[in-house]
């Protein structure tokens, strides 16, 4: 009986140790620093000198964490092939000066993400109080799509999103036949 009790206790301890190891591993692949955005932030501040960007929130997910999330979402979008997903939210402080994305050279802003990347803006959205720019980074020599960056400015909040890695599966997901989804909906 005593042995049985000890066995249970050992199992609980082992579970706790395993949980700590897993959480430590995952935490190592996750950070709340905006270090990866500092170069872009500085570039925007240089180009629009009358504003300052104060970090509100930042998160950076590495490959292991994305793999873990991929398992949690039952491989729905297959994000395990991505290297990084980074997000930062900045509060725009200015004396009435507004950021106009048209006046920002985003190629310069994103230069720190690789000298070999050629950036192209594929989507621009301009609405009252909102601007959204989506850029893709291409390595023309390797003929590969290596990065996607999204900039969203809504009132006094600037959101920057960086995604790096293998976009093969993401594009495949985006192009998945509408019929599949329709059939899924019909079935449910």
């Amino acid at each position: 009986m005593d042995y049985h009790f000890n066995g249970e206790k050992e199992t609980v301890i082992m579970k706790k140790i395993l949980l700590v190891i897993v959480l430590t591993q995952l935490a190592a692949c996750m950070s709340f620093s905006d270090r990866s955005f500092r170069s872009a932030r500085n570039s925007i501040q240089e180009q629009v000198p009358d504003i300052s960007l104060e970090k509100e929130f930042a998160i950076s997910l590495g490959n292991s964490m994305l793999g873990f999330l991929d398992v949690l979402t039952l491989n729905e979008t297959d994000i395990s092939e991505l290297d990084h997903v980074q997000l930062a939210i900045y509060n725009v402080e200015s004396d009435g000066q507004k950021i106009d994305f048209n006046e920002i050279d985003f190629s310069d802003t994103l230069r720190s993400r690789g000298e070999n990347l050629y950036w192209e803006t594929i989507v621009r959205v301009r609405k009252e109080g909102e601007q959204v720019w989506v850029l893709v980074g291409m390595d023309v020599e390797r003929n590969s799509l290596d990065a996607v960056s999204v900039f969203v400015l809504e009132n006094s909040e600037l959101v920057m999103i960086n995604v790096d890695g293998d976009f093969d599966h993401i594009i495949e997901f985006a192009l998945r036949p509408a019929s599949d989804r329709r059939r899924d909906n019909d079935a449910s």
Partner: protein
């Protein structure tokens, strides 16, 4: 290293300029290209939504998905430019845009474009045109113009798209309307 940064890198960038300009000039002389500048000038505002997919990106998407989806890859590989411009504003004079659209539609008619859809309903104006190859086995361009109160939409797809590619894509995405293009062709 400093020499590379200061001399070779700018030289490399400069060397790309003629290539980029040549690519744009090739596109503008393509039979499927439509210059919407008169319509955008009337709108007099920047597009609310602007989507621009150019050849390098389309080529990369083609390469990425070729192993997984040959039909979609084949279709995308034939595209040279996809442009979508949406103007949302109540200040846009829809009658003026519609009048200019009619003039542009006449120009497309006389340039050999085929009108596929024309809607003139109250204040709603829609024109959809296809530019077909002489033997109708390929589509060089698609032009879509929509003018409604508060919204103007301009779309131009440029490429050398075969009807087989479109019908294959229709089968792939279960769009009967596109599959029928092959039936009509046969």
């Amino acid at each position: 290293m400093k020499i590379f940064k200061n001399v070779l890198a700018p030289l490399f960038c400069l060397s790309l300029i003629p290539v980029v300009l040549a690519a744009d000039s090739d596109l503008e002389s393509h039979l499927g290209y439509v210059d919407f500048s008169t319509l955008t000038a009337i709108a007099a505002i920047e597009p609310t939504v602007e989507i621009s997919l150019k050849a390098p990106l389309l080529n990369m998407i083609t390469n990425l998905i070729r192993s997984e989806d040959e039909e979609a890859a084949e279709f995308i590989s034939k595209l040279m430019r996809v442009t979508v411009n949406v103007f949302e504003s109540d200040d846009i004079d829809v009658d003026q845009v519609a009048a200019s659209m009619s003039t542009m539609a006449e120009d497309l008619d006389s340039a050999g474009w085929d009108r596929v859809v024309r809607v003139r309903e109250d204040e709603s104006h829609v024109d959809i045109y296809f530019r077909l190859a002489p033997d109708a086995d390929a589509i060089y361009g698609i032009a879509i113009m929509v003018a409604e109160p508060g919204e103007t939409v301009l779309v131009n797809i440029v490429g050398d798209i075969s009807t087989d590619d479109i019908s294959a894509l229709g089968r792939r995405f279960n769009l009967d309307e596109l599959v029928d293009i092959e039936v009509a062709d046969n």
